[in-house]
Each structure stands twice: as structure tokens, then as C-alpha cells.
């Protein structure tokens, strides 16, 4: 980062260096909201060809959009906001990305260097505030450093276990001039992620899988991020090993493969949870034994030997002791395992799993003309050929989408898994649609979460984004209501939304979007059909669903995975 005396770079302002470096890195879209301290930066952005700023209506929306963009494309999402409230509004978005290992780079304006610490107008210690939820952060202190900081941030965000990086930009540093050196190498002494797995450990893991009678692969978001679903599929097919995925791992293994046992965990399938409990060898790939997956820890998968492959050493042995830890990148480790996997005799085990599948399938019972959310998800899946990019909000809508869509390819579902951020769906879906303009993007949301970032409907209309919003309206904060029904004697404290809900159809219209509503079962198909046809405009397809429909199976908090409730029993 020191000035290169022999080879002076071109003199540019901090803002110019920043935007030019983003262009050099291949960034074409920037999400954000301007404000006093970044006017100059937005001015440069606006007149630089090859890079486009997209105005959201709230900084949280812009940050989730960057997250959705990153999940859908694999490229880091870029956010530019102003200081103070602009910066603090990004915190939930940053924490969401951090929990799910999503690469985003957040640029925050800051008061001039000399005023930092004086409680200046729109000042916030955003580096301090975001320290626990960023992979790394920088304060730019000299315009000549900005290029190198941006390159380092980009490198840190996408390599190793990806994550958000924040760069705080005092306005005087953006305005001042410095030397631009576009080609400096990124070398960070303390940052060297391990990619290649330990070969002896890999051999041991393959042997363990080959000799297992009841093996199970448990694939997480790391397989989607690391694009290793082909390798997982090959291991499964060759060794006849069933595969379960986490919420973030959905799509990493096609659910129409007979070896798929679907999603595991609190609202996972009966058979996935039973397989977890009964397997004798469990290979966890790019997942982290989260509490929503393991249920009660001291009774989790009691009879299995465990293999854990992860790029982040701190994920290994954090919650669950493992027999064979392998630190490395899934894309580098799995091919070596593929080579050593032999066709194994797992016939009895697969029969057992099929038996569970037949006895305890995912199911819901139709009730007259009432619309059931599971049916809506199934119909949307069918009519989008199971190929849409599915973005969910958080709560019941998220779990129904996860359970009933039937995912087939990696990076197909975007969902706030770790932080469970309501309001994530709509803006993240916009980010995905901006990143993948040729794909159908469906956002499953509820009447609670939709209203948490509903202002972004404007962004969708303004940018002519044909987003398919599936609003499952049950008039409740459904997941909390479900818990109240099951564990709080049906006292629905503060979870009733129906009395205050707006007229969503008029609301859609007011924003300039299309609104379509289904009130009874027989309307569902027509609404979806109509909605999918709409081009160049977002559509809100509102389904008035059965208000007290629950998500099952369910592992109650603190219970073991084999203590599932089905239909409330």
C-alpha cells in the first residue's frame, strides 16, 4: 500500500479510484442509497461506463439485494450507502450475509477524518458496530490506499469461507487525490485459507464410507457455495449413499434422485431425521451442525462415526465431536474421495429409508376449498418446472417452500438460514433477478415478512423486474403462532396481523405492480398461470391461505431429531 516512487500511478480522487477498481474487478451492478457523505462517490459512479448503480428504497433492502445477487451468481454483491443511519441500516443485511457465508462488500460513507469521534452529524462507528458480523473491515485513511483496500476486500469476501467485508470511507479521503496503481498484488500475511485436504484423512474417510452399512451424506450450504454438487452426486450414486441437505444445502443434490432424503432438521422430512439418527457413518460436507439441524445435541446421531469436511477449521468440533476432520475446499477434497469410493452394499439401509419414506411422507390434507400453502408451493414448482430461482422470507412460508418445491440444481434456493431475517425475501429476490435476468425468480413470502421490506416493490417496478411474488397470506405471524398453538395454549399474543393488514391488491396497484388474488383452491392455478405470464413488471400473487395451517414434521426446540411432531401429535 505504500506509494510507489519509481512508478507513480495516475492521480485520481478516492471516489474515482474506488469505482475504477470495482470496474477492473468486473463489478457491473452496485446496490445502494445515496446520502450526504457519498454524493461525490455516486457522482463518479453515475458517469462511469460499465457499472450501474441501482437505487433501493432502504439500505437494508440494498444490502439483502447484494446478498441475493451474491447467492444467485457467486459474485460478490456490492453496496454503497452513506454514513450514520445509512450505515446502521445495513447491519441486519450484513449479519444475514455473515451467518450464511455470503460474499458482499459494503461501502459506507463516513464523516471527514478530522471529525471522527466528535459525534458529528450522521456519524456512527460503523466499523465498531459491525465488527462481530463482518469477516473483515477497513477504514480508508488515504485515497492512494483505496484501490488496494478494495482488491483485498474482494479477495477476502470470496475466498476461504466467504463473508461480508465493510469499507468505511471518510468523505475527505474520497474527495482527495491519490495515486492509482491498478495492478498491485494482494498478499495478506495472516489470511491463507486451506484448500487442499489432508490426503491421509481423505483416504480414511473414503475407507470409512466404503465399509459403512448405513452411510449418510449431510450436505450444507458449503456445497452450493463451493459448486461441488456434481461431486456429491457422484459419491452418492457410486457408493449408493443417501443424501440429506440442510436448508442452505437444498439444490446441492437433486431431490428427484432416489437417493435424496430431502431436508434435515427442525422441519426436515421424517426420513431424513431418522436417517440422521440411525446412520453408522455420517459425512458432513460444508455444513456446521447447527442447532436447527441437530436437535438435542447429546442425543444427536448417537451411533455414527462422523466425517466433517469444511473450509473453516472453527466449524469443526464446535458443536459435535468428529472422528475424521478434513479442512479444505469441498471442490478440492471431494474429487479425491470420488476416486476412492467403491460400490458398497447399502441395499438394506436404502430399503429401510424407503420404508420410512412410504410410512411418513411429507403430507398435508386438503380441506375443501381452503387454500393450503403446501399446494400453492407444489403448483408453483410444477408450473415453473422446478427450475425457478426460489427466494424465501422467513417463517412458515420459508419452510413450506423448502419442503415442497423440489430443488434440482445448486444456488436455486436463497434463504436466510442462520440469522432467520424476516424481510429478506423481496429485496434478495430483486438482487437475484438483477444478477440472473434470464431466469424466473419466485419469492415466497408471508404477510408479515413482506411488509418488512415492502418499499422495494418500487425498486422492482422502477427497474421493470418481472419478479413473481407469492404472498401466502394467513393473517398471522405464522411460525410464531404455530409455536403459540403448540406450546402456549393457543394464546396468540401479538401475532394476529389480519386486523391490520393492508389491502395487498390495492397496495400492489399503488406501487405500479400487478396484483392477483386467489381466495379459494380452484383459483390457485389460474392465478399462478396468469402471474407467470407477466413481463417487465413485478406481480404480487396473493393466496388467502388456511390461517392455522402448520409446518410439519416438527422437532420441538430442545428435542431429539427422532422426537418429531406430525400433525400436532
Amino acid at each position: 500500500m505504500t506509494e510507489n516512487k519509481k512508478n507513480p500511478g495516475k492521480s485520481m480522487t478516492g471516489s474515482e479510484i474506488l469505482v475504477q477498481t470495482l470496474v477492473d474487478l468486473g463489478v457491473t451492478k452496485v446496490f445502494g442509497y445515496p446520502g450526504g457523505k457519498v454524493i461525490g462517490l455516486y457522482d463518479v459512479l453515475d458517469r462511469t461506463p460499465g457499472i450501474q448503480g441501482i437505487l433501493f428504497r432502504h439500505e437494508q433492502g440494498a444490502t439483502h439485494a447484494a446478498d441475493g445477487f451474491a447467492r444467485a451468481t457467486g459474485m460478490p454483491g456490492i453496496v454503497i450507502v452513506t454514513s450514520g443511519p445509512g450505515a446502521t441500516n445495513t447491519v441486519t443485511g450484513i449479519a444475514t450475509a455473515y451467518m450464511d457465508s455470503i460474499p458482499i462488500i459494503v461501502f459506507t460513507g463516513q464523516v471527514p477524518s478530522a471529525m471522527i469521534g466528535n459525534d458529528a452529524f450522521q456519524e456512527a462507528d460503523i466499523i465498531g458496530i459491525t465488527r462481530p458480523v463482518t469477516k473483515h473491515s477497513y477504514l480508508a485513511q488515504d485515497p492512494g490506499q483505496i484501490g488496494q483496500i478494495v482488491r483485498e476486500a474482494y479477495h477476502i469476501a470470496i475466498t476461504g469461507r466467504p463473508g461480508p467485508v465493510l469499507i468505511d470511507l471518510p468523505s475527505d479521503v474520497l474527495a482527495a487525490s491519490g495515486e492509482h496503481h491498478p495492478n498491485e498484488h494482494v498478499m495478506i500475511r495472516g489470511y491463507n485459507p486451506t484448500y487442499k485436504g489432508h490426503s491421509q484423512q481423505i483416504n480414511k474417510a473414503a475407507d470409512m464410507l466404503n465399509t459403512a452399512r448405513r452411510p449418510l451424506i449431510y450436505a450444507g450450504g458449503g456445497v452450493n457455495i463451493g459448486l461441488a454438487s456434481e461431486e456429491i452426486t457422484e459419491i452418492a450414486n457410486r457408493g449408493q449413499i443417501p443424501v440429506t441437505t440442510t436448508l442452505l444445502g437444498l439444490g446441492a443434490f437433486p431431490e428427484d434422485n432416489p437417493l435424496s432424503v430431502g431436508m434435515v432438521g427442525m422441519h426436515g422430512t421424517w426420513y431424513a431425521n431418522m436417517a440422521m439418527m440411525e446412520c453408522d457413518v455420517l459425512m458432513c460436507v460444508g455444513a456446521r451442525f447447527d442447532d436447527r439441524v441437530t436437535g438435542r445435541l447429546n442425543h444427536f446421531s448417537p451411533n455414527s462415526k462422523k466425517i466433517h469436511i469444511d473450509i473453516d477449521p472453527s466449524c469443526i468440533a464446535k458443536n459435535v465431536a468428529v472422528d475424521i476432520p478434513i479442512v479444505g475446499h469441498v471442490k478440492k477434497v471431494l474429487p479425491d474421495i470420488v476416486k476412492k469410493i467403491k460400490p458398497a452394499n447399502t441395499k438394506e439401509w436404502l430399503e429401510q429409508i424407503n420404508c420410512w419414506k412410504n410410512e411418513h411422507p411429507l403430507k398435508y390434507s386438503k380441506r375443501g376449498e381452503e387454500i393450503l400453502p403446501e399446494y400453492v408451493v407444489e403448483k408453483v414448482a410444477e408450473m415453473t418446472n422446478h427450475q425457478a430461482i426460489v427466494v424465501t422470507d422467513v417463517g412458515q412460508n420459508q419452510m413450506w417452500a423448502a419442503q415442497y418445491y423440489g430443488f434440482k440444481r445448486p444456488r436455486q434456493i436463497l434463504s436466510s438460514g442462520g440469522l432467520g431475517t424476516m424481510g429478506y425475501g423481496l429485496p434478495a429476490a430483486l438482487g437475484a433477478a438483477i444478477g440472473c435476468p434470464d431466469e424466473t425468480v419466485v419469492c415466497f413470502t408471508g404477510d408479515g415478512g413482506f411488509q418488512m421490506n415492502i418499499q422495494e416493490l418500487t425498486t422492482a417496478v422502477q427497474n421493470k423486474i418481472p419478479l413473481k411474488i407469492v404472498l401466502l397470506n394467513n393473517g398471522y405471524l405464522g411460525m410464531v403462532r404455530q409455536w403459540q398453538e403448540l406450546f402456549f395454549e393457543r394464546r396468540y399474543a401479538m401475532t394476529v396481523l389480519s386486523d391490520g393488514n393492508p389491502n395487498f391488491m390495492k397496495l400492489a396497484e399503488g406501487y405500479g405492480a400487478v396484483g392477483l388474488q386467489a381466495q379459494k383452491l380452484s383459483d390457485v392455478e389460474d392465478v399462478i398461470k396468469e402471474g407467470l405470464k407477466i413481463k417487465r413488471l413485478p406481480v404480487v400473487m396473493e393466496f388467502i391461505i388456511c390461517p392455522e395451517e402448520n409446518v410439519f414434521p416438527m422437532v420441538p426446540a430442545g428435542a431429539s431429531l427422532d422426537e418429531m411432531l406430525e400433525n400436532g401429535k
Binding site: 466499523i127 465498531g128 465488527r131 462481530p132 469477516k135 473483515h136 473491515s137 477497513y138 477504514l139 485513511q141 477476502i156 495478506i188 500475511r189 495472516g190 489470511y191 473453516d312 477449521p313 472453527s314 468440533a317 464446535k318
Partner: protein, 160 residues
């Protein structure tokens, strides 16, 4: 059980809050933490003492290693190492107790570094338990103030 971690990191903006914040944010126990410039002037060495079982300490070491600024983490607990702590102890004294206090200091090979009509300030260096012991012995005279550095430690190179 007490564990000692020696952490070398880039002395960059915000590195120390990242390290200390990890302990509060993740609920790890921290008994002492001392910082000082390392052998390379661009680095700082932190010596951290923490309580916990091996699994927690392993997590702490891994989390520290994950920080971009951290170059190296060494757990000294299971290796031979040398450790020292320095404390300044200001003790109340009068003409009648001064000699006795100086005797205590002498036994612990501590130095008198300041004297007033009413106080004596003692500098003591040693392992943590020695520092604790002299403080305990000085309690009876009335301790006004204590400043402790926290532990610094290095691996012992000479081994049989």
C-alpha cells in the same frame, strides 16, 4: 483449567478490538490480556490467559486464527514455557509498619520504587501465583492501589 495463548497479529487499525471483541461476543472467559510490540515492529504480540476445557480453548484458538489480522496463535499450556507478570502495589504505611512491609517485599524479591509519608509502592515480578502471594501478604497493611500487567509468556527453548 488455565490456558495461555500467545497471539501474533498485524498491528493494524482495529485489530485489538477484533481480538478482545471475540471473547465478549462469543462468551469466552478471559483472565488477562497483555499487548506489546512484537519482534517485527509491524506486529503485536498478545498474551491471553483464559479458563476453559480443551474444546473451548481449541475453539478460541481457531476463532483467533480466523481473524484476518492474526498471523499466528500458539497455545503454550502443554509446552514448557516461561511466564512473568509485573505488579505495582501501593501499600499504606506508617513509621511503625514500614520496616515490616519492606521485609515482606524483600522476601519476595520485590523492589520499593516509591515512598511517601503514608505509602510505599512496591514493584514485584514473577509468576502469577507469586504476585498473588505478595498481594495477600500486603493486605494486612492496607492496599491503596494495584496495577498488574497481566501475564506475558514465551515458549521455553531449553529442553532436556
Amino acid at each position: 483449567m488455565r490456558h495461555i495463548l500467545s497471539v501474533i497479529f498485524e498491528n493494524k487499525f482495529n485489530a485489538i478490538p477484533r481480538i478482545s471483541g471475540l471473547f465478549s461476543g462469543r462468551g469466552y472467559n478471559m483472565n488477562s490480556m497483555s499487548f506489546g510490540e512484537g519482534e517485527d515492529p509491524e506486529t503485536t504480540r498478545a498474551t491471553i490467559t483464559s479458563e476453559g476445557d480443551d474444546q473451548i480453548i481449541e475453539q478460541i484458538a481457531k476463532q483467533l486464527n480466523k481473524l484476518v489480522d492474526v498471523i499466528k496463535v500458539v497455545e503454550l499450556t502443554y509446552e514448557p514455557f516461561v511466564e512473568r507478570e509485573l505488579a505495582l502495589v501501593k501499600v499504606q504505611s506508617s513509621a511503625s509498619t514500614r520496616a515490616e512491609i519492606m521485609q515482606v517485599a524483600d522476601i519476595f524479591r520485590a523492589k520499593i520504587i516509591d515512598l511517601s509519608h503514608k505509602t510505599i509502592t512496591i514493584e514485584v515480578t514473577g509468576k502469577e501465583d507469586k504476585v498473588n502471594a505478595i498481594i495477600e501478604m500486603l493486605q494486612q497493611f492496607g492496599i491503596r492501589e494495584i496495577a498488574r500487567t497481566g501475564i506475558v509468556a514465551l515458549k521455553r527453548e531449553f529442553q532436556k
